[in-house]
Amino acid sequence: MPFLPHTETDVREMLATIGVPDVETLFDEIPEALRVKGLDGIPPGLSEMEIGRLMTARARRDGQPLAFLGGGAYEHHIPAAVWALTTRGEFYSAYTPYQAEASQGTLQIIYEYQSMITSLTGLEVSNASLYDGGSAVAEAALMAVRAHRKSKSLRLLVPATLNPNYRRVALSTAGNQGLQFDVVPYERGSGCIDQKALATHAGKDYAALVIQQPNFFGQLEDVDALTDWAHAQGMFVIAAVNPTSLAILKPPAEWGAKGADICIGEGQPLGVPLSSGGPYFGFMTTRMEHVRSMPGRIVGRTVDLEGRPGFTLTLQAREQHIRRGKATSNICTNQGLLMTAATIYMTLLGPAGLAQVAEVSRSRTRELAELLIAVPGVRAAFSGPRFHELVLQLDVPVAGVLAKLAREGILAGVDLQEDYPELGNAMLVCATETKTRDDLQRYADALRGALR
């Protein structure tokens, strides 16, 4: 029997110990009318060899196309050691470190992770992870409303340059508690927040302004001016950032005169495979003064009975298993294993390696942009500095072009028709350090062919 160690003798003797004639008797408190007669809709079991064959065949069908997709998930090289270590059973098959003495490995990793992510973002405290970048925006919005002592507002300003799925997740998650998200348009030349439009909100009571850097279009926002403006209005600033970019971009704690108040983002670029969208992890950091408003697990360093350093979950009075209905969030299980992978990834890359990933990705995207813009009928939608993504506009509808290239094994970009119809035939394109010059050329040639 798969995954069951019981022999017939075991079962017989165990039943005798319990004092029942058979296993069925153990279910005699369940009303007979409710009992299941069978699970006919479930296929018969497969051996490991059979399921292996099935999964391999299905995986092959999906193939390994050459992808230039971004939009919130990014293909980066993941060092072999990251998942060799992460999938060790001691990490993989452990649970939340409630018994600190038997979980020092996981707890120390969380502490090391908190140390790395606070340094990367410049803010003082971090939690042990959230579900993903989208849910992190939602949790940050709820936290801003909770932590803001001077504003009673349930409204936040979110730019149209925030990943549209993040906005959707924030609304689905926080809308039930009355939070509202007013959208600030972007400026058509730069693809950045329209500061004139933003200025029309001056003097109104908002809990926070969300700023994504680099923004959804890959453009770099004027974070200093935006942060100072928001603070002058008495709003918090929630920074939504790409962690790779922080190796070379100014950390949110240094935005403007006072720095962002809460920083969140999608942790996937830090050693987590694309894997069709998950599991990823969201990260969150903030100032020490807001630590008690932060959702999720937090690990602290302390000492044991003999004065030896050790680690434990702390500030648990914020959490659902203690506070129940009054907790900062209902979050319980988060994304521990992915946080582990990210910690190992950041360790292997170090400050120089991560900066190199960021710089090379930027260069590759710039090279790609040059090659593609040279193709007749292709132009950049926006000007100004970028990170590793950009929006291209075509003379013809994007969907057909993407489908044509996909047939050649190239996933050429993300169609923006649905979320940004005003941009016309626009697509979001990304290149990272994983792309070679030949890859870029292959894409450019294929696009030239498709548009001919």
């Binding site: 029997m1 995954f3 019981h6 075991d10 039943l15 319990i18 153990l26 279910f27 409710l34 299941v36 479930i42 079991g45 399921i51 999964m55 299905r58 939009g71 993989y92 098959s93 649970y95 038997a102 502490y111 090391e112 140390s115 790395m116 606070t118 340094s119 405290v125 959707r168 039930n176 009355g178 770099l220 070379i248 100014k250 694309l274 894997s275 069709s276 969208g277 630590v291 937090i298 602290g300 302390t302 000492v303 044991d304 004065g307 030896r308 350093p309 050790g310 702390t314 506070r323 979050i331 299980t333 294993l337 360790t347 400050p351 120089a352 190199q356 090379v360 710039r366 993407l402 996909a406």
Partner: protein, 496 residues
Amino acid sequence: MTAPKAVEPLIFEYSRPGRGAAAQHPPALAKTGGDDLPAALRRRTPPRLPEVSELDTVRHFTRLSQLNFAIDTHFYPLGSCTMKYNPKACNQYAMLPEFIGRHPLAPATHGQGFLECMFELQEMLKEVTGMRAVSLNPMAGAHGEFAGVAMIRAYHAARGDHARNEIIVPEAAHGTNPATATMCGCVVREIPVDDQGDVDLEALAKVVGPNTAGIMLTNPSTLGVFERKIREVAKLVHDAGGLLYYDGANLNAILGKVRPGDMGFDVIHMNLHKTFSTPHGGGGPGAGAVGVSARLEPFLPVPVVGREGDGYRWLSERDRPQSIGRLSAFMGNAGVLLRAYVYMRMLGRDGMARVGEYATLNANYLMARLRAAGFDLAYPDRRASHEFIVTMKKQAKELNVTAMDVAKRLLDHGFHAPTTYFPLLVPECLLIEPTETESRETLDAFVEAMVSILAEAHADAAKLKGAPYTMPVRRLDDVRAAKQLDLAWKPVNSPA
């Protein structure tokens, strides 16, 4: 005397300027054109990430892993968490290069294999729970709870019934239940259970009414017993116009034996990381798929996998205009879902039914042996479900030995502790869930350890209260951790 050293230094202590794992870094490119990154946007000082070699990294994290208890190394009878064996095949086949390399925004043409797995997973989860439709989107149990309660709210709102904002929760419920209700903008009404662990029907009858949005129940309950009056509960709540929410934390107990849909539940979440054996990962990732009855189907979170002819695609907001929306940036914890899929296919229909049977057999066996050994049960007259509660109330009073002391001493015997101090209404409780994948020998060894701890409680309570002794650290100073917050490493001479 110098203070004792840490078992394993922080990774930062291995760091030396200029050292690095160079093989991991991408090759530098010749600069093409000028640097167009404005100085105002540039980082001025590098982040404090460690500068270590690959070997340093591997040794450090391998050593850290060895400080953990895990299912792969230890019996882990953590009640309500279903710490069963996580088959290696599930990990291997979910991590095939095509699956882990697939971008979430890749077109369905380059994801039919993956989507077929997801579609079949939805179908299998429907069958095993008796629900009409399933969404795989939520990323943890609490996230699934959120989706469920949000759907209940959306359902009432769509009918113009805006008064229904109360969620009823038994006092023994998981903390996530009331926290979820609050997150959904609902008011929580707690109701008691009777002395046999069943919901107090009279109390329930008093709180249901025109404001009732629904009730959240775990069955078997967190008390480790099956809620026998479930049909009466369902009738009371439904007659009052409310809906029934099933917290799937304990689904393992009844897998293949009873289905939440048949019990009258309108919406459920399943913890795939419990019942369907995906890894707990040291605190996630989980997966909290939700299932619903027909009337809630339009409200399911998107995306959902649909079949059209021979092909599969994600159904989005456009296909499901009444959906409560999107709960993850993409489509949930896809890789976890693949693991659950592999597990379910390997078990098949017969294996699935055996899960509930053997989980229940192991729990009742362990309960019978511990009772015979002199431990007090919280519900001695009831069958155990897949878990049961031992209460140390008597020992706490007579010997000053608490559930926590027992939990810590078990670590010295090589067993992870059961869940302690939950559910809150049983004093000094140990919630014990052995799962079906443990052998009789393991259960017997656990009983021996418990017996020896009980003897020690009488003979040398002080020794017991100092446990554990064999772990990497002794008991930790939690008060200091909360008062002198040290949440991130800083170099010794660093300004703040």
